[in-house]
Structures are given as C-alpha cells and as structure tokens.
C-alpha cells in the first residue's frame, strides 16, 4: 500500500509511519481474537480456584479428611434432571442424606433406558450453593465416565463422597444436582 507516501506533506517527523501503526493495530485485533478463546480455559481455572459456579471435581480424589467432625450435621440433597430429548428414567435412590463433615458416604442412583434404542448418557453434576462445591469431594462417581445403556436396560450407579471438614460454618445444606444428557451422537461422530 502506498498511502504512506501520498500524504507525506502533512506528516510531522515525529509521527510513526502508517504501516507501523497498522501492524500494531492488526496485532491487537488478532490478540483480542485469541483472548476471546483464551477466556475459555481462563474461565475454568478461575472457577476452579474460587470454587465458583458449582463445579465439582471431574476425577476421583482419595479420601483425605482428618477425622470426622461429629459436632456438625450436613444435609445433602440429591436432584436429577433430564436434558431435553433423553428417554431415560433417572433418579436418586435416596433424595436426602445427613452426613458429618469428614464422613464417607455411598449412595446410589437409578437409571433406566426406556426407549427402543441404545443410548449413551452423560450426567453433569452441579453443587449449590456454588461456594460449597469445592468442599464436596467425590471419591467415586458414575459422572466421571459415560453411561451407555442398551434399549430397556436398567442400572444402579454409585456415588461415593465426603464433605470437607473446612466447609464454612454458615452452610448446612448442600444440593447436588445431576443433569443427564444424551451424548450418543457426539460419541458416534
């Protein structure tokens, strides 16, 4: 491009050349485009550090509590929800359970594929209040893997967890909610 020379007359000596400015600005454009995508991992890291957003651990942790705090009793509620279009029955065997912080518990969830075709399901957990999510530790969970169910098949799926001793004192009820998605098409492709 020759626009730099065309207007030489009005350019003072101390001004940067057009192409220099353009290069910098184009660099900013690409950097900001990249930044938009960088927000995706940044968001996860941010949520991970602060425990925001109700996200729980996505892989099993070892039991690491320092004893059991019998002076406190925490109510843990279980909710299930089917995403649009998945023909399953999916519910907790027990709707609610009381645990002491540090105490390990094992609960079951019931799932049945009531359709005529094989479906791969994926349960996505979320804990409310969000700030408590970091204190809800899953040792073993069916949500860590996909759940393939053949047509008409039913299954009981286990969840093993404990609540951290450091759970803030003002929190005495946790709600763990699972949303179940049909991911057959994604797995196939």
């Amino acid at each position: 491009m020759s626009e730099g020379t065309e207007q030489e007359t009005s350019i003072e000596a101390n001004k940067p050349s057009n192409s220099k400015v353009i290069k910098k600005l184009v660099l900013v454009v690409f950097a900001m485009f990249g930044f938009g995508f960088a927000l995706v991992p940044l968001y996860d890291v941010f949520c991970d550090i602060t425990g925001l957003n109700g996200k729980t651990n996505t892989a099993g942790v070892a039991y690491a509590a320092d004893g059991v705090d019998t002076s406190r009793m925490i109510k843990v509620q279980f909710l299930t929800r089917m995403a649009k279009g998945i023909p399953w029955e999916f519910e907790p065997v027990m709707n609610e359970i009381s645990v002491h912080p540090g105490e390990m518990k094992f609960v079951n969830f019931y799932a049945k594929n009531i359709s005529q075709r094989d479906i791969i399901g994926q349960a996505v957990p979320s804990v409310s209040p969000g700030l408590a999510a970091g204190y809800f530790q899953k040792i073993e969970c069916f949500c860590f893997t996909q759940q393939p169910l053949k047509a008409g098949e039913e299954v009981e799926m286990g969840l093993q967890f404990y609540v951290d001793l450091d759970l803030p004192a003002e929190i005495n009820t946790l709600t763990l909610s699972y949303t179940l998605y049909d991911i057959s098409s994604k797995v196939d492709s």
Binding site: E6, K15, F30, V40
Partner: protein, 537 residues
Amino acid sequence: MTTDTIDTSLDDAHNDDHHDHKMTGIKRWLYTTNHKDIGTLYLWFSFIMLLVGGALAMVIRAELFQPGLQIVEPDFFNQLTTVHGLIMVFGAIMPAFTGFANWMIPMMIGAPDMALPRMNNWSFWILPFAFAILLSSFFMESGAPNFGWTFYAPLSTTYSNGSTAFFVFAVHIMGISSIMGAINIVVTIMNLRAPGMTYMKMPLFVWTFFITAYLLIAVMPVLAGVVTMLLTDTYFGTSFFDAAGGGDPVMFQHIFWFFGHPEVYIMILPAFGIVSTIIPAFARKKLFGYSSMVYATASIALLSFIVWAHHMFTTGMPLFGELFFMYCTMLIAVPTGVKVFNWVATMWRGSMTFEIPMLFSIAFVILFTIGGFSGLMLALTPVDFQYHDTYFVVAHFHYVLVTGSLFSIYAGAYYWLPKWTGHMYSESLGKWHFWCSLISVNLLFFPMHFLGLAGMPRRIPDYALQFADFNKWVSIGGFAFGLSQLIFLAVVIKCIKGGDKAPAKPWDGAEGLEWTVASPAPYHTFSTPPALDEEKD
C-alpha cells in the same frame, strides 16, 4: 486499472477546481476512495437500515397493541425482536457514526482524506452483503434468527431454528467492516493531523471517535471469537457452551458481555462528541472543561471493560462478584456526570439560540440523562432482580440509544447538512421532525418504565390484561415516532435538491476547520494542510 485513475486524480487535485475528475454513475460509488463519498454511503446505508429495523419494530408494536396474539406467531415475533436489535445496533447506529467519522474527521483535523482510502471502500462495501445475508434468512424455510440479539447459548446452539450460520457469517462480516473502519480512524487521527494540531487541540468530536475506534479494535475480535464458538458448537460438535460435553452456557454470557458492554459505549461515545461540538456552537461559548471531557471519555472507555457482569446478576453469581460489578458500574456515573455537568455549564449564561441541531442536542442531554438514571437503577444488584428482563430494561436502553445515540445523529446531520449539501435545510420541516419525534418518543418509551416495574417481561408477544392501556399508548407512540422519521427523509431530500445557499460557516458560533472550506465541501479538501490560528489554543 480503474483504481489507478482515481489515485492520479487524487494526486493532481492540488486545487479545488479540479474536483470533477470523479467517475459518474454507479461506478463513482462502487470504486470511490473519497472520504466524503464513503461517508455519504455510510449515512444513507444506516438510514435505510433504520427504516428496515423500524419497520420490524412497527410490526412488534402492532402485535403488542392489544393483549392476545393477533398478527404474528410467537416464533416470528422472536425473529422480529432479534433482527430489530441486530439491525439497529450493527446496521443503523454504528454505520451512521462511521459515516460521520468519514465525512468529518479529515475535515476537522485538516487532512486530505482518510489514511487508508482503499480499505475504506472495502469496509463500506462489505456491509450491504452482511445485512443481505442476515435479512435473507427471513425468506428461508428456517426463518430468521429468533434467539434475541444477545444470542445466548443454548438458544442459538441446541435450540437454534437453523439460522445460526447465516447469523454468524453476517456478524463476521459486520465485525471485519467495523475493525477496518476503526483502524482507518486511528491511523488517520494519529498521522494526518495538520501541523500544530496536538492531541489536546483536537476537536472533542475527533477525540471521542479516536477512543471509540480503540474500543472497536479491542472488542470486535472478541465478538468474532464468540460467534465462531457458537458456529462450531452448533455444526461441528464442539462443546464450548454445552454442559453435556463439559462446556458451560454461563461462560457464553461472560464472553458475550465482555464484548457487549464496551459495545454500548461504542454506540454512545461518538454521540458525546457530536453533542459537545454542537452545544458550544449554539451557546456561543467555548466547551466548558475540554480536558475533563477528554479524560471522562477515556475513563468511561476503560471502565467499560470491568463491568460486563452487571448484565448477569441473576445467573447466580457469588455476592462478592455482584458487589464488585455493582460498584464498578456505579463508578461510570462519575465521568458521565462530569460530561452532563460540562454540557449544562457550557449552556450556562451562553447566548443560546435554538436551531434544530441545538434542539436535538438539548433533548439529548435531558433524555440521555434519564436513560443514564434508569441505568443506575439497573446497576443496583438487589433491585435488578426485579427489573431483569422486563420492559424497564427495554425503556432504559431505548432512552440511551434512541433519544441518546439516534438524537445525536440527527443533531449532527442537521448541523453539517449545509456543509454536505451546500443548502440550508428547511427550518420549519426540521422543527416538525424534532417536535413530532420528541413527543412520540417519550410516549413510546416512558410508559415502558412502569410496565417493566409492574412486571411485564420483554421479548414476549402477549401480556397480562392489566398492561393493556399502557401498551396501547406505547404502540401509538411507536407508530407516530416511526412516521416522524419520514419527515427527516423529506428534509434531507429537499436539502439536497435545493434551498437557501449555505455560506461556508452557516452557524455563527461554530468553530473548527470544517467551516473554513466552502459549502458544499469541495470534493478534495486540505490537499495542503491548513495553518492553525494560534489564538484558538
């Protein structure tokens, strides 16, 4: 080869009499690299888009004239609100400001043209294609985008009606156009100022466009990124916003509003610049607090990057987040307050006259402030839970965008029409346009505050019976406002065709280099840079 001819014509245009080297007919407009031609194209394009978006709004108001479903299906209603928003934001307001930038910035800083004239041609001529793609989806089987102009996932991914690809490519093209326009503005302002025009001697109009251009360069790529993620989520199996695959729909809102909030200031900062040019001219006083205006504009722009989540108070943010975004948002009221104070102080004890540009500017100051106050109310987290997604929000952003941005565009158009066309506009027609617009716009948007406070949700084609009376008045205001804009079309056409001959400087209080050239402005101005008079300081 054709572009070469244009370049030669630029080179030998050392004297203004030779300005008839331009091509004739459609080719003049297709191949033009002249900032005035491109400015004109932008302004006409944005006015056409205003009428298109306005026509969609008329159908919306007709449907809402009385409760129940009368005219359109709910799904089509969703398409109307979505496309109305997209057209008005990206098609009407933003190109109009780019049009002003093209026409006025080179003339205000004493430059012969924009710094990158060929890119300028491109950045305009891809725009009609973007909107052709967007609007063509109305005629497809799937219909137009129906997920709101904010295109939240999963509405635009999992539940899309199939229009997502059209929408995404249209937004990509609009974004590329805006970024090219913004780069052009920055380079022009940095490099083509007349000798002696330091940054702090630039007209405030130029300053606001300078800062706006930086905002555009910073956030339009983020918009491009987020629509790209939508595209791959919808058609290529990625899971950025799909919880089933490990993504998060709330993250969409974070990325979108990281673009979306600076975008709001992209649409209002140039308005500040236009009004700051016009009020001193008709108050016959210097702008009060020039440097505080510059710093206020810059601080609004910087703050706009750390307030985005005030659009998302109801997503279940932790208390700390809500407080942080609430206080940051309220902080913006300070520089904005400085601006409103300065406009009022400029008028204080001025020798004011009330020509049409001044009328629109004064209406801007009052009505934009109302919109600012309702924005302040929305910034309060506890009450936002009541206002969220109601007509109160609709009232708020229409006060800042219609009586704010659009009124400033009208003010600027009347102010510079004599310079653009060489004729004075019809004062009486202009007064009709102003008063009809002023009355109808308030009838249209003011009752929406009460509707929202009473709980009428936005984007719904039907409403509870108790909202019927207010909605009827709102619709009448809407039709009247829509029709009033046709008066403006008449004013412009009449002004182009003839009228009293405009002198080089038709407003006796006006300042700036653009008034030192003849009216209409010659095809090429400031081929040699002007000498600045030193007393101006």
